[in-house]
């Protein structure tokens, strides 16, 4: 039997299983469908599933196992940034391919990694723009879980808001530990902050587990979206599935995909998903779409290159464009990020998002933020001859060793 192996590196146990298990299933579905459609290069695809168990060093170990022992052609995986950081050296050393499907803080472009989730400029900044324009927000609460993604995103947003003339005292920043479950104080602080007579909104980078108790507290303390809207970057359909959303109608989320997107591709995708998982109530979400895009890009790049060889695929994938689920095409950029539309949705009482705004065109992911002084001058371009993930345009040279 001659197959092409595809590694799936998502936590199936531990704290992240709650988010990542679905992505494992989504990948299995995509692979199964592709096999029905004849596989790849005339061979069948074979999924290799491992469980890195939400344990970051174990991610590195499992990545190595996938690449060295199973010799997979590509890996689809990871959710948290720390897990990605943990596997980066492995992919670099063994020259593997990683498709990373989750929105992240940016400030990275690695030759062996393809970032199919959103960079900050594909999620956070457009969302803030929406609130500025459509809700007339003047006062901002940046609330997040205390780790790198929220910290960086908030740093970027703070710089961005200040560049738009928002005063220091109109920005409140608040961090909470992972899994924070007692939100009484913070929600009441938000209410107090929002009662200064200026339209106030909360930009939430609160992560996973902490969201349910946060929204429950919002609902109970009567913080309605009409008064103080909350826009979240880590709350999707999956997270809402654990909540009674009736009191939360109108709160927002910014993503590049919502299950409620009304396109044929999406209907098909949802139907396939329901068929695969055997449960009509299961939802789809943005990182699933990112895998959908990433997987199809990889297929196309392999076909283009005629081989699964990593170097060849890295060359051939740039510029590859595949349909996304929101009715357009996403393309792989030279910086290994992709182009995506940005959507803002409001929570509905059925746990879905109603898309209230979207960017007119596609936004290209920016590996290096323009709003951080040290990365403003950096660009990434993995095409020859530059072939550099952190090229300093001011100095005209490729910094660091990543080449």
């Amino acid at each position: 039997e001659d197959t092409i192996k595809v590694g799936i590196l998502h936590s199936l146990s531990g704290t992240m299983a709650i988010s990542e298990t679905t992505l494992k299933d989504a990948m299995l579905m995509l692979i199964e469908e592709q096999n029905k459609n004849g596989g790849l290069l005339g061979k069948q695809l074979e999924a290799v599933v491992v469980d890195p168990a939400s344990d970051w060093p174990l991610f590195a170990e499992k990545a190595r196992e996938l690449l060295e022992v199973h010799e997979v052609a590509a890996v689809f995986g990871n959710w948290t940034s720390v897990s990605r950081k943990s596997v980066l050296p492995v992919f670099e050393e063994l020259n593997g391919l990683l498709f990373y499907p989750v929105q992240y803080e940016g400030e990275e472009s690695q030759r062996n990694v393809f970032y199919t989730g959103a960079a900050p400029n594909q999620q956070a900044i457009p969302a803030v723009d929406y609130l500025l324009e459509n809700e007339g927000v003047e006062r901002w609460v940046l609330a997040g879980t205390d780790y790198v993604y929220p910290r960086t995103t908030n740093k970027i947003l703070e710089a961005y808001l200040k560049s738009l003339g928002v005063a220091e005292e109109d920005i409140m920043i608040n961090y909470t530990p992972f899994g924070h479950s007692d939100w009484q104080t913070i929600v009441s602080d938000i209410k107090a902050f929002g009662s200064a007579g200026k339209k106030t909104a909360v930009v939430s980078t609160i992560n996973g587990d902490a969201n349910v108790p946060f929204y429950k507290e919002l609902g109970n303390q009567g913080v309605s979206a009409e008064d103080i809207p909350v826009v979240a970057f880590s709350v999707g359909e999956e997270e809402l599935a654990g909540l009674d959303t009736a009191p939360l109608v109108g709160h927002l989320a910014a993503w590049n995909y919502f299950m409620s997107v009304d396109t044929e591709e999406n209907d098909e995708f949802i139907e396939a998903w329901h068929g695969f998982i055997g449960d009509e109530d299961r939802v789809t979400n943005d990182p699933m779409e990112a895998h959908y895009i990433g997987f199809n890009m990889w297929l196309k790049a392999v076909e283009k290159a005629g081989t699964t060889d990593a170097d060849a695929v890295i060359d051939s994938i740039i510029g590859v464009s595949v349909p996304n689920l929101s009715g357009g095409f996403s393309a792989m950029m030279p910086n290994h990020h992709i182009t995506k539309p940005v959507l803002v949705g409001e929570i509905q009482d059925d746990g879905q998002f109603d898309i209230v705004w979207e960017t007119t065109g596609l936004v290209a992911g920016d590996a290096w933020s323009d709003y951080l002084p040290d990365s403003a001058n950096l660009i990434a371009d993995w095409r020859a001859p530059m072939s550099c993930g952190n090229f300093d345009v001011a100095k005209g040279q490729c910094g660091g060793v990543s080449q």
Partner: protein, 536 residues
């Protein structure tokens, strides 16, 4: 001031429009047909226009729009209100409420609303329902009027105020009138009076109105500034009370989570690493009960927690008895190995739940009586927290009575202190052990019912409470229920006083450091047992 006006710019626009073209006013039907079109801003203006028709049928129409029930039929573009009942969708005429029969799920296209539009609907409905016969509706309307602060509502508000018989509604109406007054170009005296009215509210809403005002100049601004200072002072005091309340409420959660452990660990000396998973079992029992009720008798939903509580107790208790009979029983006298074995149990329970219910959060709803909040002075007290506090106290009292006042309690304590001797005294130690462990487990299950109301119901639920539970039991003094009680509330309150000052992360660190230091002072916890008896 300008900021406020920007909020009701559409109204001004609309009023200009209406007054300019009195004869050309469109009918409600015509206006309604335009609802699906245009930008959100355009449609907000349209909503005002609809309200301005004064047509009473606009109320159900706007309500349907606000609720997101308004749909445009794909076939002919008629607007209908769609109500979902079970799996069927029924269309109604949005103006008359007359039924138009069943439609398919994909027949209609929802008329979209966003927050801005919803705000416009709220103010529009506010004006229209100020004189509604139902005082609750009037209260809502008055609150909407207060929030919108539209000076053009002044007349309507005056009239409503005169006619208002309900005191509560009248108060809010008065406040709404005062805000409207402040936003109008009323005389200084009127504005002064308005400031006084609002200052008298003395709450956060008042602050929201007065703060921008105080930033200005002139005597009104000064009065506002004084009022702001007053309110802020009183809020400081209330802030303390608020912190105490939050602390007690956090404490009650900690206590519920820990009290079962106070039995299995504190009384029996079993390091039960699966305690968190027993809480999880309780939470999933609640989920199953609610699913069952949702699917078979939705009208019983309000009872779901009362039904779930005993079932959760029994389910978790049964799991506990199984753990005790199957594993822990063989390990008495080797307490440390129970750590290894129960860790294994906890892994298995987590994976079991993950395999059965999936890795995701499951939705456990709050019944009505567990939702929302009420104000006590300046305190916002949420019902779910209040009931959880009450529940935790009941559980505590019950447990205390059981342990101290019943023969079973005596036997439990005797068995855990000297199993062999207890057997010699004729106590069925096996049975008592199973019951004791089962009791601790059952109480963990009860905690799960409560926690399902405020936290995730996911396979990770248990893990997030286990460390805190051990801290509470040890801080209070293992082996003493009162210790768990005092420990939980002390840590809860300490945490909530630190959190505003230091932030949630640092507060948590500080509490941990505090525990470490405290144990140096009292090496056997807050309610330490002393004397020979302990060393024996």
């Amino acid at each position: 001031m300008t900021r406020l006006t920007s909020l009701f710019a559409p109204i001004l626009m609309l009023l200009a429009l209406v007054t300019a073209l009195p004869g050309a006013a469109a009918t409600l039907e015509e206006l309604m047909q335009r609802l699906p079109q245009g930008s959100y801003d355009d449609r907000a203006a349209l909503v005002m226009e609809i309200a301005a028709t004064g047509d009473e049928r606009a109320v159900p129409l706007l309500e349907a729009l606000g609720e997101g029930d308004l749909q445009e039929l794909k076939s002919d573009g008629t607007l209908v209100r769609v109500v979902k009942e079970g799996k069927t969708y029924t269309a109604y005429d949005p103006l008359t409420g007359e039924s138009l029969g069943e439609i398919g799920r994909r027949d209609g296209k929802k008329v979209k609303v966003n927050n801005g539009l919803r705000r416009a609907i709220r103010s529009a409905l506010g004006i229209m329902t100020l004189r509604h016969p139902d005082p609750a509706k009037r209260l809502e309307a008055a609150e909407a009027a207060f929030k919108s602060g539209d000076p053009d509502q002044l007349e309507a508000l005056d009239a409503a105020l005169l006619a208002e018989s309900d005191r509560e509604v009248a108060t809010v109406l008065g406040a709404a009138r005062a805000v409207a007054m402040l936003n109008s170009d009323a005389t200084e005296a009127d504005q002064f009076e308005a400031v006084t009215t609002i200052a008298a509210m003395g709450n956060q809403d008042a602050l929201g109105v007065l703060l921008p005002l105080a930033a200005g100049e002139g005597p009104v601004a000064e009065a506002a500034a004084d009022a702001v200072a007053d309110i802020e002072r009183s809020q400081k005091v209330w802030g303390l009370a608020q912190n105490v309340w939050y602390g007690l409420s956090l404490g009650s959660v900690l206590m519920l989570a820990a009290i079962g452990l106070a039995i299995t660990f504190g009384v029996m000396g079993v390091i039960n690493m699966a305690h968190g998973e027993l809480i999880m079992v309780g939470a999933y029992t609640t989920f199953v009960v609610q699913e069952f009720i949702r699917n078979t008798m939705p009208e019983m939903f309000g009872w779901s927690l009362l039904i779930a509580a005993p079932l959760a107790f029994l389910t978790a208790g049964a799991v506990g008895v199984a753990i005790e009979r199957g594993i822990v029983r063989h390990l008495y006298g080797r307490p440390l190995e129970t750590l290894l074995a129960t860790w294994g149990v906890s892994l298995i329970l987590q994976q079991t739940v993950r395999s059965i219910f999936g890795p995701n959060n499951r939705e456990v709803g709050n019944p009505d009586w567990m939702s929302g909040a009420f104000e006590l002075g300046q305190l916002t007290i949420t019902y779910n927290r209040l009931w959880i506090l009450v529940f935790s106290l009941i559980v505590f009292a019950g447990l205390l009575a059981l342990l101290k006042r019943t023969p079973m309690g005596l036997q439990m304590r005797a068995v855990t202190q000297n199993r062999a001797m207890a057997a010699d005294m004729g106590i069925r130690t096996g049975w008592v052990d199973a019951m004791t462990f089962g009791l601790g487990a059952g109480i963990a299950g009860l905690a799960g019912v409560a926690l399902s109301q405020i936290d995730n119901v996911s396979p990770n639920l248990g893990q997030s409470y286990i460390v805190d539970s051990f801290m509470v039991v040890v801080f209070g003094g293992a082996g003493n229920l009162w210790g768990a009680f005092a420990g939980a509330f002390t840590l809860g309150v300490a945490n909530k006083f630190l959190e505003p000052v230091a932030g949630a992360v640092l507060a948590k660190i500080l509490v941990l450091v505090f525990i470490i230091l405290f144990i140096q002072k009292r090496p056997r916890g807050l309610f330490a047992l002393k004397g020979r008896a302990v060393e024996a």
